[in-house]
Amino acid sequence: MTLKSELKDIFTKNLRTSGIYIAFVLIVVLFTIMTDGLLLSPINLTNIILQYSYVLILALGMIMVIVAGHIDLSVGSLVALTGAVSAVLVIKTGAPWWVGILAAVAVGALCGVWQGFWVAYVGIPAFIVTLAGMLLFRGLTYEVLNNVSLSPFPGEYQEVAGGFLNGLLGGYGFDMFTVLIGVVAVAGLVWSQYSTRRGRVKFGQDVESMAMFIAKNALAAIVILWFFWQISISRGMPIVLMILGVLVIGYHVLTTRTVFGRHIYAIGGNLSAARLSGVNVKKVNFWIFVNMGMLAGIAGAVFSSRSNGAQPGAGNMFELDAIAACFIGGASTTGGVGRVTGAIVGGLVMAVLSNGMQLMGVGASTQQIVKGLVLLLAVAFDIYNKRRAGAGN
């Protein structure tokens, strides 16, 4: 296959997977022009990370829920509840910052156990269980907080979502440590891509041409290095970006390389076939929800840290942001299809949309209208592509 025909495939045959990346680039270019480059300024890039990290964390769990053919409407309330528990412990009882964070994660996981039990072992559709959870956890949040907001957190706690690692290795006008992380990220990406490619070649599989391989990786490397350079000349490495990075890599590996990940796709792709292949469907479904709860706990800790307190109404509509991120990122509404990387890019599309419109001074009402339409168009595009593939073209 030649480089030229491969490039053509990206816009034709493989549009379903590549579409989200193309859309992302278009949106970034659009808002960069409309904000006179403000969107990509070092300070704003850092801001996007700080502001939307919790949606990306939620999307990591949500993509697994959606691939398995479920939905989770409760994560917004769960973010509020876990943040509230943490705030009560740290602010009211004076427990150390890490106790608050561990408690948030533990409460999140416990709520996941609760919902996983009803979905997996009782067989109630996740839509109903998590709709109930949405109300239940919101109510518990009010109970835990006695209907009042709590703030502020001690300094260490605020660092989780608002802190930076800067000056660890020095640098002249930029942070050496941040740049180094960028270099490591590029090296890791190229190495993993290369070893996959080598494995496929070894066993006689078709791979893309070397030219395409190099072009793709070079492009990714440039974007990553440029991004880390930008934030290195701003405030340095955000701690929350490191948390997010570890989670993204971890969940990417979990979904693509492990037995558990395979079972999720098997259940979503064909439930009956998965069952007859010996997949313990109940167990897998149960752990998907436990995991989702745990990630909601992490997001709750991050969000409470960023907002420097806990509010009874926190996390409202977060579930919809996370769900939208997954569908914009190419997840199928019928299950079985979706990738962690897609969900992250989908989440970034939502983030850039919101951030870009805020920079332009667009009102909140218009923002919601635009986001709603983008979600609808993304899924319509996916269905259109499926039909096209189904027609055999």
């Binding site: 599989q205 390389r257 037995v259 998965a274 069952r275 007859l276 292949s277 010996g278 313990n280």
Partner: protein, 512 residues
């Protein structure tokens, strides 16, 4: 002779790759009960779908004359307007609606825009009386048994002013009392001048009730028998149904048979929702190493139910009996345990139960045996490709690479992927349920070759098939199943289609 109500002339219906009907002729007299017989897949149901407008005029070749006029139905509604009503094997009633609501569904008694329930219920009561059903019209249909639901279907047909009633396997799901009642009702309707076409596997029933019987085989009309003629016996019908020559469609094989590997004793399974229905009744069987054993049975005999209930209790409730592997009792109560015990089950419906069609060959091949290529929960991607590639080559799967989506493969190649998937679990016993369904002739030969190779490598193979020639062509021994009971077993040397068909049609009271 009475006047002819229906003439189907030279009906040919082609599906992509398959000629389901090939010049079928059928002639039905006014006011008779006309039976249609044939093996599974002979084309009976397709013929009735052509007649009732499920396949619209123009999608088939040939001519249908009804009451002397050409019938050109473009939908079921058209043919019903002419008085041709079909009642399918799967009943089409809405369980949560009442009997009356079901009777007039799409045909409501209206006063203005509102339904006149008083009149509707009154008319419903009259219809129910005609079919001898003692239920009130307001009873929800879901509360009725299958037999009574069947009567509601017939009442619904009567409401449509039926002239020709078509029943597809009406008694397959009924108990003896309900069957008898239904057959009596058909006799009464005959007296009232309603013509009836009945498809049935129950030859005793046909002998009882039918005036004429038309036999269909491989999409062609074989003959029509006048049931008043004493020569028209059950065995005469069987002869017509199976009278086909065996050609060299099966690869040669020298069996080397060893010890008993797999044994089932007194296996009993109940229907998952209708608890009083016993689907498999104290069935026992065994398979030896290197042996290919067949299970023959008509639709509804419990073949798939037997296999799936053994394989991880994937079907049914109230399962009892024992499974032995190599003489030791094993637990097969979950699919995982069954796989561990060395059992593999290749489903009859590979799209629904066998494959994840949106994934590639590689992922499907390893889906049931991921444990073999993973350590600490991580899948070894290179090993996975190696294994998928191995089965692609050894099974001769025609696909550009193991990264090709299984949804894009042909039926034969999909089946090979499923076989590869189960071979990867290294089973001692392979249960193959309709291994060649929906596969073209060339690919069938390849599947048979693979089955033979499996047996030659010492595996025990159990084949379930509706095609008797297939069983006779590849099996060393064949069990027959009728109405959930084992009715016999024949070694290859003694088995003929006629003898199998006799054993397959033994009805309940005569079983064993």
């Amino acid at each position: 002779m009475d006047s002819t109500i229906l003439q189907m002339q030279d009906i040919t219906k082609t599906f992509p790759g398959v000629k389901a009907l090939d010049g079928v002729n059928l002639s039905v007299q006014q006011g008779e009960i006309h039976a249609i017989c044939g093996e599974n897949g002979a084309g009976k149901s397709t013929l009735m779908k052509v007649l009732s407008g499920v396949y619209p005029h123009g999608s088939y070749d040939g001519k249908i004359l009804f009451n002397g006029q050409e019938l050109k139905a473009s939908s079921i509604k058209d043919s019903e307007a002419q008085g041709v009503v079909i009642i399918h094997q799967e009943l089409a009633l809405v369980p949560y609606l009442s009997v009356a609501e079901n009777l007039f569904l799409g045909n409501e008694t209206k006063r203005g825009v509102f339904i006149d329930w008083n009149e509707a219920n009154q008319r419903a009561a009259k219809l129910l009386a005609r079919v001898g059903l003692a239920e009130t019209p307001v009873t929800p249909v879901g509360q009725l048994g299958v037999g009574k639901q069947q009567l509601v279907e017939i009442a619904k047909a009567l409401n449509k002013d039926v002239k020709l009633l078509i029943l597809d396997e009406p008694t397959a799901a009924l108990n003896d009392d309900d069957s008898a009642h239904l057959l009596n009702l058909l006799r009464e309707l005959r007296e009232q001048g309603i013509t009836c076409i009945i498809i049935s596997h129950k030859l005793g029933e046909i002998e009882d009730i039918a005036n004429n019987t038309t036999i269909i085989r491989d999409g062609q009309t074989v003959e029509s028998l006048d049931m008043a003629d004493p020569a028209s016996t059950q065995s005469r019908i069987i002869q017509g149904m199976v009278g086909r020559e065996l050609s060299a469609r099966y690869p040669e094989r020298e069996p080397e048979i060893g010890q008993v590997v797999f044994e089932v004793r007194d296996w009993t399974v109940r229907h998952p929702t209708q608890h009083d229905r016993i689907v498999v009744d104290k069935a026992s069987l065994d398979v030896r190493a290197g042996e290919i054993v067949g299970i023959a049975g008509l639709m509804g005999a419990g073949r798939t139910e037997l296999a799936m209930s053994v394989f991880g209790h994937s079907y049914g409730r109230g399962i009892s009996g024992t499974v032995l592997m190599d003489g030791r009792k094993v637990d097969t109560s979950t699919v995982g345990k069954a796989i561990k015990a060395g059992i593999a089950y290749v489903s009859e419906d590979r799209k629904k139960f066998g494959l994840n069609l949106i994934e590639d060959i590689r992922v499907n091949t390893t889906a049931a045996g991921l444990g073999k290529i993973s350590s600490a929960g991580f899948v070894n991607g290179n090993k996975e490709i190696q294994i998928a590639e191995h089965y692609r080559k050894s099974m001769r799967i025609k696909a550009p690479s193991v990264l090709a989506k299984t949804g894009n493969l042909s039926g034969g190649n999909q089946q090979k992927v499923v076989l590869g998937k189960w071979l990867h679990t290294a089973p001692e016993l392979l249960i193959l349920d309709e291994p060649t369904r929906g596969i073209d002739v060339g690919a069938k030969y390849e599947i048979y070759t693979i089955i033979n190779e499996l047996a030659a490598s010492g595996k025990a193979v159990l084949v379930i098939s509706s095609e008797l020639p297939e069983l006779l062509g590849i099996c060393d021994r064949i069990y027959t199943l009728a109405y959930g009971r084992m009715t016999g077993q024949l070694p290859r040397s003694e088995a003929t289609q006629e003898r199998l068909m006799e054993l397959m049609t033994i009805e309940k009271e005569n079983a064993r």
